[in-house]
Amino acid sequence: MGKFIQLVVDGLSTGSVYAALGIAHVPEGRGTLGDLTVRENLRVGAYLRKDAKGVDRDIDYCLDLFPNLQDRIKSNASALSGGEQQMLAVARAIMSKPRLLLLDEASLGLAPSTAKNVYDAIRRLRTESGISMIVVEQNANLAFTLVDSATVLEVGRNVLTGTSAELKGMDEIRRAYLGG
C-alpha cells in the first residue's frame, strides 16, 4: 500500500492527494474550468468546505484581491484574458483555504504589467492570510518581491539557497537573473 504523509494514495490522482492534504496547486498554464463562470469556478474551489458563510466572505475577498474578476463575475472562464484567467486560477486555489499554496509559473505568458498585478495581489494575500507558499518562477525580479528565501535550480540541481536579501545582493545572481 502506497502511503504519503499518513494518507493512502493508491489509485488517487495527484490532484485529489493535494486536496486531501490541504495543498492548493495553481498549475502552469490555466488552472480554470472554461465552461463555468468566474463565480462557479470559485465555488468549485471551495467544494470541500462546509461553512457557507465563510465561502461567501472569501468570494468577496477574492474579488477585492482581484478587482478585474469582479467585472467578469458572470463570464465564462474561457472568455477571460490570460491575466484574468491566472488571477482566477489563484483565487480558485485560495478558496479551498489551503495550508500550503503551490504557485507554478504564475507569470508565464502574461504582459509584464499584468504579471506584476498578479504578484502584487499574491503578496497582499500572503501578508493578510499568512498562507505558506512555494513559488516556482523564472522571473526572479518578481519572485524576490514575494518570497523570504529562494533556491536557485540549474538543470534540476540546487546550486544556491539563501534569503531573498542575500541572493539579491549577489553579483552573479544580479548578472544572470536580474538583468544587471
Binding site: 490522482s13 495527484t14 490532484g15 485529489s16 493535494y18 486536496a19 486531501a20 492548493a24 496547486h25 498549475p27 488552472g31 480554470t32 474550468l33 472554461g34 465552461d35 463555468l36 462557479e40 465555488r43 468549485v44 474551489g45 471551495a46 467544494y47 470541500l48 474561457s78 472568455a79 477571460l80 490570460g82 480558485r92 479551498s96
Partner: protein, 293 residues
C-alpha cells in the same frame, strides 16, 4: 385542422420520448465524452422491472419509481465496474463496449422475460379531451408534460445545486476538478445514474404504446441519436427541441407528403441530419468549441 393539431400533439409526445433518451445520451457524453449506445437497452431493462412489479399487483406509479431507482443503480454500477476501464482509452473501444452492453442487456431481458410482447399499463387514461373543438389524447399531453418536468428538474439540478456544479466541473476537466477535492469517480457514477434514471422514465412512458419487448427502444435510440446530432452534443435544451421537431415532422410528413406515408417516415429525421450536418456541423443549438490560447 383538428387532424393537424392531433398530429402535432402526438408528435410532441413521441418526440418527448426521443428527447428523454437523447438527453440521457448528452448527460453521459458531457460527463465522460462517450456515446452510450446501451442507453435505450438500459431503459428497457428498467421498464421490465416496473412491468414485473405491476404483474405482482404493485401500484403502477410505485413500480415506476422503483424502476427509476433501480435504473440509477444500474447506470452507476455500469460506469464504475465496466466503463471506467475504457474511459481513458480509445473512445472507439468504449463505444463498441456500449454496443456490446446493448446486445447483452437485450439478451438478458429476452432470456428472463421472453421476446413476446408484454402489455404495459398506461400512467394516463386513454381518453381524449376536447380543446377548442379539437380532440387531443390525454396520454400524449401527459407524456410531454412529464418529460418537460423532468427536463426542468435536471436543469435546476445542474444550475442550482452544488452537486450539479460538481457534475459540470468534472465534465469539463476531471483532473482540474479533482485538485479542488471533487470525488470525480463518484460524480461520474452519479452522472451515469441520472442518465439511466431518465431512460427509465422514458421507457415507462412509451411502453404502453409500443408494448414491452427487449428491443422496444432500438428504433427510439436511432431517433434519439438523430436528435443529438440535430440539437448538438453540447446543448441539453437543444436536443429536446430537436427531438420534438423530429417527432412532429415525422408525423406530419407521414400524413401530408403523399409519397412518404407511414413506411418511409423513418427516413425523415435522417434527411434532416444530412442537411444539418452539411449546413451547421455543430448542430442547430450546439456551439463550436472555441479555445483561447
Amino acid at each position: 385542422m383538428g387532424k393537424f393539431v392531433q398530429l402535432v400533439v402526438d408528435g410532441l409526445s413521441t418526440g418527448s420520448v426521443y428527447g428523454a433518451i437523447a438527453l440521457a445520451i448528452v448527460l453521459v457524453h458531457q460527463a465522460t465524452g462517450l456515446i452510450n449506445f446501451a442507453q435505450g437497452g438500459m431503459a428497457v431493462l428498467a421498464t421490465y422491472v416496473a412491468w414485473r412489479l405491476t404483474v405482482n399487483d404493485v401500484p403502477l406509479i410505485f413500480a415506476i419509481l422503483v424502476s427509476i431507482l433501480f435504473s440509477f443503480v444500474v447506470g452507476a454500477v455500469v460506469e464504475r465496474w465496466l466503463m471506467r476501464r475504457f474511459e481513458r482509452g480509445d473512445p472507439d473501444t468504449a463505444v463498441v463496449v456500449t454496443i456490446g452492453l446493448l446486445t447483452l442487456i437485450t439478451g438478458i431481458c429476452g432470456w428472463l422475460w421472453t421476446y413476446n410482447n408484454q402489455q404495459f399499463p398506461s400512467l394516463f387514461p386513454l381518453d381524449t379531451v376536447s380543446f377548442l373543438g379539437v380532440s387531443i389524447s390525454i396520454r400524449s399531453i401527459g407524456t410531454t408534460l412529464v418529460i418537460v418536468v423532468a427536463m426542468i428538474a435536471l436543469q435546476g439540478l445542474f444550475v442550482g445545486t452544488k452537486l450539479g456544479l460538481a457534475l459540470r466541473a468534472v465534465a469539463i476537466n476531471p483532473e482540474s476538478a479533482a485538485s479542488s477535492g471533487l470525488p470525480v469517480g463518484r460524480l461520474l457514477m452519479v452522472g451515469w445514474g441520472l442518465a439511466a434514471g431518465l431512460g427509465a422514465v422514458a421507457g415507462a412512458l412509451v411502453a404502453p404504446q409500443l408494448t414491452l419487448t427487449p428491443g422496444m427502444l432500438d428504433s427510439t435510440l436511432v431517433y434519439a441519436l438523430a436528435a443529438v446530432i440535430l440539437g448538438g452534443l453540447t446543448s441539453p435544451i437543444g436536443v429536446v427541441v430537436a427531438a420534438w421537431i423530429i417527432g412532429v415532422l415525422e408525423n406530419l410528413a407521414a400524413v401530408y407528403v403523399p409519397f412518404i406515408g407511414f413506411d418511409l417516415k423513418v427516413a425523415v429525421p435522417f434527411i434532416l441530419i444530412f442537411v444539418v450536418l452539411i449546413v451547421r456541423p455543430q448542430g442547430l443549438f450546439g456551439r463550436k468549441v472555441v479555445v483561447r490560447v
